[in-house]
Structures are given as structure tokens and as C-alpha cells.
Assembly symmetry: D2
Homo-oligomer: 459 residues x 4
């Protein structure tokens, strides 16, 4: 890496899961549009062909019809070749395939357990962790070996458990988890400003917040635009919309929600739940918002079917094909993700305070040390320091500490390959409202369905 004035050249980025059709392309776009950095990107994927395709697509950016910075993309067969010399490592993998995810999400439905996402907590999140943890152990060991001083950005779910595994395996790692769910709540608050006060809707970055919790179950204890207190605005907003929902200008698609869950949680606990309703619902007792698909719909969100993901993948594969054949041209457009911004901030090229997932060193004093928590952090050159976000408010402390405990136990169980320990945590998950015998049957069935990826466990 060459740091000259306000530019960094010859930056080396390793992308684990570099065959992805989606996240990878977004990152490529954002890199192309970052005028002050350039260099190389090594793509590593267990699907080497996919990585090779993406390298071709990535290199196309250099010929985009708009000015871009130059990046050399290449696919690597060995993770060590991708990581050697890396200044940054991006991890965005799918732990298993959609076949396994199909089981994660839909097998529990046979037992009356419905999941709106199924990749974070609940039966699906736990089984996904069982697959992911050994993979992240391997990644962490590889980073320790090939690029121990690199900054590591994880996008993979279950976020908390993946990042926890990185630190458990290589305590000296400089890793953090990056997630856009909080952004959506900033956007909602901007919309509330417009709706309630008749102001012009500000950019979501202009909504300043204090965020704390665990990934996908994050909460705002303060929010301001300029020095307008948004807690007050939101209180009135929730009174107005908690029954009808608020969807105006919201994304109209699979992931959309009416924010009714979010408003219900605010009215109950007095702090702002800050993730999509589909995620928030999964952290509550199963009978609360997810007793049935109909109940979910009545709360204004839908359960994301894995078949939808499979269809969506097909479309993205088709797009990939067209890009490679030249039928489509890649025109980089800025995404709403912050990964490249974070890279630039860690290079000292711009200031940044944003929310990330890091081990608790005291940023949330009343949660267990070392657990992975989400708070704001100050990014600067080679430095990432969380703010003192403060204690979890008592009204939601029980629900958050319970999830921390569950996830700590699941990771411990996965690291020890101890299925009984994992089951004990599974059994206590808020969505697992079953009698013991059914819970065990469900767990065993889910393990059986995905056993191809669980060969290291003593079952």
C-alpha cells in the first residue's frame, strides 16, 4: 500500500466469498467510485469458477463509461494466496447452500415455528451457526497465518456468532461486523421528521443516533437531527401509525415492512428498535409476532421464503452470464453500503462514526465482556474505537442479555463440537415455544437435513 497525500495506491483487498453474485458486485461498484483508493482485489471462493467470473466482471469496471479508480481483480484457488499481503479482508460467504437454508427456515414450520429470515437467531440461525463456525475458524486461522495485521470486515450472518468465532480463534484479529439494518431506522426517522414536522426529509446519515445491542436486535437510546430530539418526534409518530403501519416511501418488495413491530416495541419499552421488522420479530417470543404467516402479515411483514431466494439467485446468475457475454455493461452505481467508506476511514482518508459489531470491552458495561455487541465506533487511520454507548436500558436488558447468553453458548458448543450444549441453547430460544420432546425432534431433524456440513460434530 502506498499512502501519498490524500490518496492510497496499491491497496490489497482479499474477498472471502468472492464468487458471490450480489454483495461482491456492490463492493466492486463502490470501489470503482472511490477516487482516492486503488489497487488489487483477490477473490477467493470455494466455487472457484464463480470467483473467476467475478474477476472478469470486476476488471470490466476499469473500462466503465464513467471515471473510476483502477482495481485489478483476480481469482485465487487457495485462501493463502488471496490473503497474503492483504491490507483488508472482506468476508461475505453463504454457510452451506440454499438447500440447507431451506431446512433452516422451513423445517421448523412443520412444528408451528415460523421465521421471517431464519439466519440470525431461532432454529435457523443456530443451525446456520453450526455450519458457519468451523468455516470462520478456518478463515481466522488463515488470517493469523497470512495477514495478521489486516482489517477484517465481515458481512456474513449470523453476524454475532461469525465475528465471535473470529476473535475466539485469533484473539489478535482486527475484525468487525458491518450491517445495514440500523440505516433503515435512520431512514424511517428521516421520514417521520417529514411526516410529523413537515420538514424536508434529510439524508439518513444526517440522523445521528446512539445505538446499542446485538446485531439485528439493536436499539436507539438517543436520536437527533441537528439538535431536534427525535425520540419525541418518534413517540408521536408511533401513536399515529402503530395500528396502520407506515409504509410511505418504504421499499416495496420482499424485505419491506410496515414498521408496526418496531413501533410496538417502542411503545412497550421506550427505546427505538433499530432493525427491519422481519429481524426484530425473531428475537421475541414466538407467539408475539410469528405465531403464523397470517399473524406476521397482520403485523405488516412477510416471511421470506427460501424459494424466493433461489429464484432471485437465478436472476443474478442470468445477470452474471449477460455481463460476461457483454450483453450487459457494468455501470458502477453507489450502493447504500458503508464497506468502502469504512476502508477509506481506516486508511485515514475521511472521518467516520458509524455502527459496527465488535467484542464488548466495556462499550456496553452491563453486557458480558467479549460478547459481540453493536454500537457506534470512531474510525480513523488504522484505528477503530467504540463509543461508550452505555448500559442497555432495563426495559430491554432481559431480552438482549438472553440472546447474548444463547449466542455465547451456541458458539461455545460449536467450537467444542458439542451438540448437547448447542441443543440446550436451541431449547431456550424465544421462538422455540415447544415442549421438550418436540424441540428435540425438530433439532434432530434439522441436523439430519444439513449433516453434509456437520461432519465434524460428534452426533
Amino acid at each position: 500500500m502506498k499512502h501519498t497525500g490524500n490518496k492510497v495506491e496499491d491497496l490489497k483487498i482479499a474477498y472471502i466469498g468472492g464468487g458471490s453474485r450480489g454483495w461482491a458486485w456492490g463492493l466492486m461498484s463502490d470501489l470503482a467510485l472511490a477516487p482516492d483508493i486503488s489497487g488489487q482485489v483477490a477473490l477467493y471462493d470455494i466455487d472457484y469458477e464463480a470467483a473467476k467470473d467475478n474477476a472478469i466482471i470486476g476488471n470490466m469496471h476499469n473500462d466503465a463509461p464513467i471515471p473510476t479508480s483502477h482495481w485489478d481483480y483476480r481469482a485465487e484457488k487457495e485462501i493463502g494466496d488471496a490473503l497474503t499481503g492483504a491490507d483488508f479482508v472482506v468476508i461475505s460467504i453463504l454457510p452451506g447452500t440454499f438447500k440447507e437454508m431451506e431446512s433452516d427456515v422451513h423445517t421448523p414450520e412443520k412444528y408451528g415455528i415460523y421465521q421471517s429470515v431464519g439466519d440470525t437467531v431461532g432454529p435457523g440461525g443456530i443451525l446456520r451457526a453450526m455450519r458457519a463456525v468451523p468455516m470462520f475458524e478456518f478463515i481466522a486461522r488463515s488470517i493469523e497465518k497470512y495477514c495478521p495485521k489486516a482489517w477484517v470486515i465481515n458481512y456474513t450472518n449470523p453476524m454475532t456468532m461469525c465475528v465471535r468465532t473470529l476473535y475466539k480463534t485469533f484473539p489478535g484479529i482486527k475484525a468487525f461486523g458491518c450491517c445495514h439494518e440500523v440505516f433503515k431506522t435512520q431512514t424511517l426517522l428521516a421520514a417521520a421528521l417529514e411526516d410529523m414536522l413537515g420538514m424536508e426529509r434529510p439524508a439518513r446519515e444526517e440522523i445521528k443516533i446512539n445505538v446499542l445491542g446485538v446485531n439485528h436486535f439493536t436499539w436507539l437510546t438517543a436520536a437527533h437531527y441537528g439538535n431536534i430530539d427525535l425520540m419525541e418526534v418518534y413517540r408521536d409518530f408511533c401513536e399515529k401509525y402503530h395500528e396502520t403501519g407506515f409504509t410511505k416511501d418504504c421499499v416495496k418488495e420482499t424485505f419491506a415492512c410496515s414498521n408496526r413491530v418496531k413501533m410496538d416495541l417502542f411503545r412497550k419499552y421506550g427505546v427505538i428498535a433499530a432493525a427491519g421488522d422481519r429481524h426484530l420479530a425473531e428475537f421475541n417470543n414466538g407467539k408475539q409476532y410469528l405465531a403464523s404467516p397470517g399473524q406476521a402479515r397482520s403485523w405488516g411483514f412477510d416471511l421470506t421464503k427460501v424459494s424466493w431466494r433461489q429464484e432471485d439467485l437465478k436472476k443474478r446468475l442470468e445477470k452474471s452470464r449477460k455481463l460476461l457475454s457483454g450483453e450487459l455493461t457494468f455501470v458502477p452505481t453507489k450502493t447504500s453500503e458503508e464497506g468502502v467508506l469504512q476502508i477509506r476511514a481506516l486508511l485515514g482518508l475521511c472521518p467516520l462514526v458509524t455502527n459496527v459489531n465488535l467484542p464488548n470491552r466495556g462499550q456496553i458495561p452491563n453486557l458480558p465482556m467479549d460478547a459481540i455487541v453493536e454500537t457506534n465506533a470512531v474510525f480513523s487511520g488504522d484505528s477503530l474505537i467504540p463509543v461508550l454507548a452505555g448500559n442497555i436500558p432495563m426495559s430491554v436488558y432481559g431480552q438482549i442479555s438472553r440472546i447474548v447468553s444463547e449466542q455465547e453458548m451456541v458458539v461455545a458448543g460449536c467450537v467444542e463440537r458439542n451438540v448437547d450444549k448447542i441443543y440446550s441453547a436451541f431449547r431456550n430460544d424465544p421462538l422455540v415455544t415447544l415442549p421438550d420432546c418436540d424441540a428435540k425432534k425438530l433439532f434432530d431433524e434439522m441436523v439430519e437435513n444439513t449433516k453434509e456440513y456437520l461432519t465434524e460434530y460428534l452426533i
Copy 2:
């Protein structure tokens, strides 16, 4: 109080709830049999007649056919008269009557929620707290006014919330909560020693433990007899008995249990649950051990009906009548309670390390400060210092922290007379596995049933 050599004379004890037929008589017996202390006991009760009867019974002890120490009992109409000059205050009241407890325990059954005790957590515990908190505010204010330096021993349930209220109202109070549930587990461990190692069964005081948690949901992270590690013994014991239960030598009565819940929890979490199964069950998800009376029975315990308590009270009232009429003679016999031992230890008359409920000042570092927690403490002259019991093990941290959160919110809601806040906690209780609408209906019905005691709440 006069401290001479190894004796204390003219000790003054105030008993709040001094009309009780049960706890009060036990304390009277233990006081009579404590050769190194004597003095006066003032009985205060909202049922003044009951207190008067008990004063008569108490004074009979001085004429017992065996040697006893002398105590003068008197009933007081005003709490201030009872408290003035008190060195110790004992609180053992019933918050409301069995009519209210009938609603606490049995109304939820209409909604499929079964409670084995119903006085600690769950719907019953929370409604009981709504009645108890204002009473304990009054008691704490009275103590602050009339005897701020007295040691205060509480026996009333919900223990955690009652003691929390005392400290919230009068932060300088020297109060602690005293409960015998842990003793039963010491007794079980003594039995396990006999059963597994063929040793003579030791006295329960000889079983040394490290205890931590919240009242009725306490756990042992270490247990020894001499330097025999009882964790190992108990592990084998649980393997032997977890299916059949272990009732040999256990009390044969309403409160009996087969210890199957306790053993199940040990096998899941690796630490020893240390309370009666009837209490332990109520801290778990409602579907776990309390889905139905039949499920409870299959786990080896019964739900205690309030009608049983009413019958039992009748027997005790009849006993009272006979004592007063002289049909029965009071012969003091030592109880298994530790109250008098604690009084003597706080007078510097004997050493004592035992479990009590105190505000968390760091004895359990990973629970919220100021919450009421149960650990061992060292008693000595005018001094009560908890041991550093250590962190709650991660395997049960989620369940315990969740209850701490619930109870903190309930007490806060009661102190603020804020019914919505109380309901938010109620709604998240592990036993309340209902959809929102039913949960609210149940709560409202329970409030309505007991409204006579809830006039201070803004409903």
C-alpha cells in the same frame, strides 16, 4: 440492648406481620431456645387481634416445661410503636389475603398457564408484587423514621421485589432477605452422598456451597463435603435418578418433589439448581415443566392449590385457639429456619456464613448493580458482607438476567404506579406464552380480581 460477655439482654425485636400463625410461632420457638439472647418482641399486624393472640402465645414460652430464655411479647396498634427502639425488624406478611392469592394462582389456569406456587414470578408473582410494593414502601419509610439503624430481615415473597422496594425507598436500610429453599438442595446433596458413596448422611450445614442467582432461582457453582467435590457426586446421582426422580427421605407432603426438574436443569446447564422444583419450574418457559397439571406431575411435583392453603390456615387457626384456651401447651422446638441464628451472628455471638438476598454491589459482577441477588454472606457483629460469588455461568446467564430485568421493571412500575410498565414485564414473563391479546385480557382480569388492593394504581 445490653451486651455482656457472651450474652445480649434487653434486645428489642419488632415483628411486622406479627399476627401470623406459622412463621411467628417458629421464630418464637427459636428465640426461646437461644440461651444467649433475651428481651422484648413487639408484634405489629394489620389484624391487631391476631397480633394480640400471638403476644399471649409468645409469652407462654416463658413458662415452657423446658429451660428457655425470657422474652416479653406485646402487640402494637401502630407500626411506629412497634419499631421505636427496635434492634431488629422481622417482616413476614401476606400481601393481601388468600382471596387475592386464589386469583393470582388460578385465574391464569383459564388461559392454560399453570403455576406451582404463584408467589415469586409468573402472573401470580407479578400481581402479588403490585400489592406488596406499596406495603413495603410504607414499612421502609417507617423504619427510616423510627429505627433507621435496625437490621431488617424479610421473609415475605416475592422476596426479590420486596427487598428491592425496601432499598429503593430507604437506601440506608440494613435489610436482607432470608429464604430456606437453598437448604433443601444441601439436604439433597447430603442424601446423594449417602446414596452414591455409602457414607453416613451429614447434616445439611456440613454441605458447603457457593450459591448465586436470584431468590428461588439460585444455583450452586461449587459444593463440597469436607473436601469431597459434590459436583462429581451429583453428576452421577443425576444420571442414576433423572428419570425416576429421587424422593427417598424427602418430605412427603404438598411441597414435596422428586427433584426431577432440578436434575434436568443440572444435566442441561452443568450447574446445580438450588431451590424446590415447584419454584424452579416457574422460571422456565411455560411449556417446559408446567404445560399442564399432568406434565407437572410427570416431573414429580404438584401444583399447590390455594384451597389447600386455606384449609391449612384453618388448622393453624384451630391450633391457635387451642393454645389460647390452654387445650394445647406450647413446647418450643427448634425449626430449620436461620433467622435467630442470623440475629445472634449479627450480635457477634456466633460465626455464620449463609445465603441471603442483598443488593448487588459486585458479588455477582455480571448482573446489574443494585438488583437483589442471593449469595453467601459473612455475618459478624453488626456486619454483613457478601462473598464474591462470581459471575453467573453463561449457560444460565440468559435465564437469570431475564428475570432480573423483569423484576426490576415490575418494581419500577409499581413504585411509579405505572400499570403499562408492569404489563410490559408481565408480557415477557417465561410463563406467559400467550398471544398479546390473551395476555392483556388475563392481566386485566387479574387486576380486576384484586383491585381492592390496587387502589393507588392509575388504571
Copy 3:
């Protein structure tokens, strides 16, 4: 206050100590040059005439020959009139006069104790605190009464003890202490970059640091320019200059230093001391750098005589006279202070992360809670959140914790008007290397010299 788009109009600022010839003028300049804020400034000073003069000078800014924002200045006789309606309060007072400071700084010299500044710690700092604490109690009570929601910026020394008094008196106050000493070390690091790596010297704001400690005894555990690790650069820099000192481009004046103390401390403790050497020296054992004026000079700094301050004041009074008479025209020029930047950041007008003095809520986990500590904090609209600066490194923990203890005891002693308690702390100050009898004699003499300001103490 009127918040419109990216501007705030009708802002109300109260300036306590508004008769100051120096700080006040600087703030006036910076306010005039802040294009996005305007409003009123109320000047309050026990020297009302001085405040009136300053109001005239302040209003002159509106007619400056360059574009400025508009501010209406007025003097107030009553503090309540100045504070009512204030959005911000600036405190910059002299506790006592230079006559008292003369005693603070020079009386100890008779006993062989030399102080380079004498306003923070040491005999001088402690006596100054005795005068300041009652004043700050009055200010805090006034703020609580007249503008409890205002943000309060303190510039007065002893910084730590003044801010501590504000919070002790009015716990809900939104106050912080603001000091430029850390900036000088950023500047030195920028110079080191130039000197060691031949780079162009960056602006001091470009030097990103993690700062922690107490005011004037602050330390950097990390420092970067871009992602260049300045700890390494500084290590070499200290090897090169620790004997000769480094004064190139340093301010040539009374407050100048050769940075030898700073480099000596780095070589001993491995972390970067971040304040002027004159301040740093006073926190060390008196024999270390301040055994005599000659020893100080040999370390490259001079003791600031109070006579110099008196001369300097004369010059500033003369300047005031000329401004008022029109002999001089006020042309606002940006200072190197950050007060106005902080005001703008707290209005949500710009991002800011900088060092401030705040009560410890966990930003430095191994210092006592509630003590005033200096770390970076994130400013945003109506929000000030410290970063998790981390533990004080063990190599300097003893020296810092010792000062925290001293200052906590001095403030407690002042609040209680308990001279014995203050003396106990005085006696243990690092500069007080005297036998007990001499220490007491010195203390008594200093109290006697300044008794006019100590009438509230029971002496």
C-alpha cells in the same frame, strides 16, 4: 434558538467571567467568524464594568471590515439575567486575583517547592481549588435554576476540580471541560513527521489520537496520520531529541518548552504524555523536574512568574482601552481554540471528535467512576458521548490514579469546607516533598495569604 436548514439563528450564549481580557475576545472572534450561527451573548462578571467594556468591544465585531455573523452583546449585573434562556454557558473565570495567585505560585518557593504554572495541582492548584469550588457551586446552582438544559463549557483551572464541582452540585448538568493542551502534542507529532520522515507537516487536526487521563496529565496510547503509526515515529524522534530538546517551530515565549519532559516520560513509560511540559512537570515528584528553577531550565522550560501575568494583564487592559477609544480596531481572527466548533457540533452543524473533560462513566474503566477524566468524545446534535478510551496503561496508572484520588479528596474537602481533609490531600501531593511540619506551615501560610476568599471555611 431557531434552527433552519444549516443555520442556527437567535442562539443565546451566557459567558460567566465575561469581563475577561483574553479568552472572551478570542471567543468573540471565533463567533464572528462562524457563518452559520448568530444570536446574543450575555456577559456576566463580578467586575461589571469589565463586562460592560467587553460588551462594547463585542458589538464592534458586527462592524468589522470583513464579513461576520451578527451577535448582540450585553453585560448583566445578575447571573440569573445572564443565564435565563441560555442555550450555552461558557465559564472562564479567575478564582481570586493575581494577588492570590502570587501566593499560590511563589509562597511554596520559600520552602523549596517550585511550580511552573501552579493552577492545576501542587500547592497552588489546591489553594486555587479552595477558592474556585464555592464559586462553581454557585454557578452550578444558578444554571440549575435558570437554564438547566443548557450546554456548559468550562475553561477555568483547576479544570478537573471545577467540572467535578459542577456535577456534584447539579448532577443533571450538561457540562464539559475544554482545554487546548492536547493540541500542542498533536502539533509536535506533526512536526516529528516532518522532521523524521521528511513529509510536509500536516495540520494538527489531521493527527488522530486516542487520549486518556486527567486534564494536563493526559496521555496518548495511539496516534496516526493517515494510517501511519506515529508511536513508531515518535519513538525514534525521542531517541534523537530527548537530550537536546526539540524547539524548532515551537512558540517562542513564556509558555514555550523544549519538550524534553514529554520525551523523557515517553522513554520511561512507553505512552505519549500530551500536555505542555510546564504542566506535565507538576504531576511528577518534585525532585524530578522542578527541584529548582535551574533544574527546570535544564529540562527546557521556565517557571511562569505571576509578575509576568500581571504585566501581561496590563498590556491587555491597555489594548482594551484602545479598542474602546477607537485607537484600535477589532479585526476578528480565528483562534486555535475549539469552543465555537464544539458549539456548532452540539447544534448538529458539523461533525466533531475531540478531547474533553467529562465524568467517568466507564470511558476509562480502571479509574474511579464519576471522577472527571479527559478522553475523546463524539459531538453531535445535543449529544456528547465519550469514546471507550480504554484502561490507563499500567506504567502510568499509579501516577494518574494518585492524582484522581488527590483531586477527589480536595473537592470533597472543599465541598464540606473541611480544611483538614484538604490538607491531607495537600500533604500527599507529588510536589510536596517536605516533612510534615514544614508542609503544614506552608499550607497554613498559603491559607492565611488568601483568606479573603476563604471565609466560608472553618479555619
Copy 4:
């Protein structure tokens, strides 16, 4: 070990430093007089002959003219042979010889630094640590290898640094440090009771205290006899005797003191300093109590000369010779040490709450975690749990935290064999009131004098 009823037979104790003429004999006596334990003691010493002599003397106990329990003593040439199978390990060694101690204590006198003991802190304590730490690393590694589950009792000074080294080297060790200094203050409080209240003087064990701090600089925040508050009694006692001292019934010998230092500290800080004055003095600024031998004497204590220790050793060697030759008969008499009591308590044979040195796990929340601190702890079968002693009071927090910092840095420096790091701590020691150049000269001279034991350091 064989645990039968209330007895333990075949206990195995390893004594490191088993050639000692003093501590070893005391332990032998106490073991002989403990009726409920018996077994073997392996003596290991680098002076094998001394160990052999002691084994002979130890075995003589079995033929004492009074009833004793049976112990087989043997000397071992290899530490592994002594440790293998040990249930308890006692460590009581002299790090170096009196020749080195001569330098530790008296070399600083050339520079005007006087030490009353010279084995804990100050120049002497630090140099002694330099010799001791590598020895304790070796001992800890040996324990880890040969008897990792044994309880380890250390008596060696510098206590804090020796125990810290044990835990740093083998974190799983079950070690604690045992010191009788606190007992003396209990004895003084008993005497104060007699003197002030005319009561019969109670046994020192009857004085119940809350103790906290670091070894030899320990403090009582509460003290009671029965429920008499001794803080009040001691306050009056200090007023009466702080000038004259109180020596009535105090030991008349080298180690005697008039308790004036102790009383002076109480009057300054409001908490009871709880160690001999000779130790306490060394933790204060050198000019306070130790400016000269005369000043020490004026405070009622004397500096212990190493020549006295050498003479004393001669007498003990002579006694050893006489015991071996049969000129003297060994009649065991109970010492005032608690080592054997602690062993019995850890075997579950008796209850015990007493003061010990353990890693800080939160028993003193405002001192650094893992530092070795002294507080009360509850002993029971195979269990040692500190009480929650509480925060160090702010009035002495600075002085204690400063010593913790010093000792942490010295141990770190010794473990790293980093002489510069050790010197940085040395330089800040309260007794080192010298200018830098003299401090360095002194340090170098002390290192030179003892270099025979410092060959592992890179000097």
C-alpha cells in the same frame, strides 16, 4: 490423603524452603498440635543439608513429651520429588542471602533513603523481587508439572510480587499468600477496648474486621467486637495516644513499635492502617516517617538492621545444633500463625474467615483486576472465596493504587527480564525521593551488589 469422619490421614505437604530455621519449626509445632490431621512433609531447600537437619528435627516431634499427631518428615534433593503427590505446598524461602539483603536495606542509606524492613516495597523490596520472581517462576512451573491441584501457601516477601508471579506463570494455580501483620492490629484494637472501655481484653480472633489493600499496606474499613463499633473506640484511642504512642503490652523487641504511624494515618485518612508501623512507614513518602533513623525513632519504631538478622540467624543455627545433638528437646508450642488452621479449613475440618492475598477478581472493585490484593476470604473444603471487601476508600486510594501500579510494573519487568522497566517503577517508589541521576546510580549500585542472583537479566 484419607478423609475419614472428622480426620484426615496421610496428608502430603511439600515445604519449599524447608531448611529454614524459624518458619519451618513453627509449622512443625502447629502440625504436631493439630489432632485431626497427620501425614508426611517433604522438605525441599537449595541448602539440602539444612533440609536434612530439619527433617530430623521434624521427626523428633513424634516423640514429644505431649500428645501430638504423627508426621513423617523427609528431605528431598529434587523439587519434583518433594512436590509429587502433594496436597499442600508451603513456600517460605529467602530470595538470596543476608548478604544481598544487606545491600537491599543499607545501600540506599548512603543516598539518604532509610528503610525499616526493606523486603516489600522501596529499593530493597524491588531488588528482592528481582531475585525472587525467577525463583517463583521455577516453583510455579514445578507445581504445574508435579501437583497442579495442590493448595499453595506462600509466606515469602515481597508477598504481593511472589504470589503475582505464581499466577502469571501458572494461571490455574490454587495459591494464596498468608501474612500475620493484620493480626497485630486486631491485637491493638483488643488493647484499645481494654484501655478505653475498661473491658477485659478479648482474643484477637474475636476482633472482626473488614480488611482491604495490598500486603503490608492493608486497611480496615470496619471493626467490631461483638457489635461494638471499634472505629469509634479507635478514634478516641488515637486522640489519646497519637502523640505519646501506645506500647503497653506490645512486644518489646526489634519489631516493636509505638503505633504512632498507625494512629497518624488513621487521623489523616479515617480508615485503620493494619500492619506494623515499620511496614506502613515504607509505603509513604520517604520524608514522612523515614527521613532519618532519628525521625523513625521519634515515630516510635526502629530500622531493622540486617546485622541483627544475621545475629539472630546465628542463634537459630545454634538452636538447631542443640536440637540435633539432643542438648535441647523440641516441645511443640502453638504459634500465632494461621497456616495449619488454613490447611485444616481447606480440608473442611473447621470454619475459617481470615485475611489472605489473592488475585483481584472483583473483591476490591476499584483496584486493577488480577493484581494481588489482601482481603478476608471464606475457607471451606477445597474452596477459598474472597468476600466483597468493597472499594478502597478515596482517602487512601491514591496511595494504594500507586503501589499496585509499581508492583505490577516490577513483576512485568522481572518476568520480561527488562531492567529499564523495573527502573522506571523504582524511580517512582515513594521512598525514592532522589533526583533522577542519583536514583539511577543507587539502582545500578544495588544491582551490581546482588548481580550473582541477577544473571538472567540483560544488564
